[in-house]
């Protein structure tokens, strides 16, 4: 395999690191809005701080992507398939930005400063704005379900390439 068949090391590390982070955060989010257990506060505190980390990582990742040549998609793919592949990747980037931003804004308007790993705190509104809280709270929830759906599609497509089309797409990210 030549270099151009594969994503750069930095892109692969960012991809898999963020995959682990984002899936953990989605799981934590779904659990913490339901649970009354003593660990709920711990998970919620980590979830909020991790959102700051995820935002920084996706920004680094976007810059890194724009600086690198990407492996070409297989030639056999039809026009609509390459269009869907490219659109879904940009949609993933969009959601990876929108999740931490909407999460922060719902906390901001609810007047809840975010403690980031005991290092610093993100500011919150001095006066609570319940309508904007409602807007970003509902948005954060809907975006989460959209992201779960898109990740499922993304994983499905990767497995389809690997096991059915038997091409190089999944290997290019390994």
């Amino acid at each position: 395999m030549t270099n151009s068949d594969r994503f750069s090391l930095s892109m692969r590390l960012l991809h898999w690191g963020m995959a682990a982070l984002v899936i953990s955060m989605l799981a934590a989010g779904l659990l913490m809005i339901k649970s009354l257990e003593p660990w709920q506060l711990t998970i919620m505190t980590i979830h909020k701080a991790s959102g700051v980390l995820a935002f920084v990582l996706v920004a680094v990742r976007l810059i890194n992507r724009l600086r690198h040549q990407l492996p070409a998609l297989p030639n056999e793919l039809s026009h609509w398939q390459t269009t869907v592949a490219k659109a879904s990747h940009w949609l993933l980037y969009g959601l990876l930005f929108a999740m931490p931003v909407s999460g922060y804004l719902m906390q901001y308007f609810a007047g809840r400063p975010i403690e980031v790993f005991g290092w610093f705190r993100l500011p919150a509104a001095l006066q609570v704005d319940i309508q904007n809280y409602a807007l970003f709270r509902e948005l954060h929830g809907w975006l989460a379900f959209a992201l779960i759906g898109l990740i499922a599609l993304h994983i499905g497509a990767a497995l389809h390439h690997h096991f059915i089309r038997k091409d190089n797409v999944l290997k290019s990210m390994l």
Binding site: L36, G111, Q127, R137, I151
Partner: protein
Amino acid sequence: MKALYLVLLLAPAFGFSADAPPKVSAQQFVDLQQGNSAFPGFRRAHAKGICVSGEFRANGQLANYSRASLFKPGSTPFIGRLSIAGNNPTAPDLKAPVRSLALSFTSSRTEQWRLAMNTPPVMAVADPHTFYQQIQAIQAGPAAVKQFFATHPQSSEFLAWAAQYQPSGSFAAETYHSINAFYLVNANGQQQAVRWAMQPTVAVAATDLTDADALQQEITTRIAADQVVFDWVFTLADATDDENNSSKAWPAGRQQINAGQIVLNGSSAQLAGDCHAINFDPLVLPTGIKATADPILRARSAAYAESYRRRAKEQLQGALEGSNND
């Protein structure tokens, strides 16, 4: 993906054990609190209240125990809310068994503190799932309540308090307890478990008024005439005390520190005031205050968030337009 999602949703149920009460979710808890007739746009618990405003005048006595800036000598403004227990925003004030004071301090954009305090000094139970059963019993009627307490000896301290409690004729004459314990953390990182109470500085005899808004009218008149003052008194736990069980009081004689005065000097109807928008989640804490592992305290964020989410969404959809809670 669907299977993974199901596992995530069901995961909390794996902690179930035979002698413990069935575990409930935040959604089930708030469903129970709101009952069969939810009042759109209002809090699911302590729905009826009045906004107050004022300031905390710190004397500096607690500054060596906590880094929180508001304990340094000086004053910090707050938005507060006086309320009664129950899901009905028009319920009669004098019928409610519990009265509450909630405060929101906004020391800065990064340091905020919400406090939610009630008249009982202890809970009847020590975990949220048993608390769910207690509320079910209250909703089912006196026989169920009797049965609940007969089978829950942990409620003895709460029952002893309830037996001697005499409701006063004013929100100004009640004692409001943190119930849950918290840790104060000072500049050296030393940690001290505490509970606190807002202690009244006036006595007001029980009222013979029957008006549904008797307590709101009384406190509005009282604040308009003069400021209403409480002493903010902290009780420090000993090494032998359990800070994680909110159904057990600490022995009398523990060191107490008066941190200063809570002064109320303004009031307004809740939908007209600033307090309605606030979620008084007691786990919004400034630097220098930390949550204990008390299971009741730890359950409050998720339950308050669910109630807040429901009423915020309803309000966004116009539930309170043209509404008037006077």
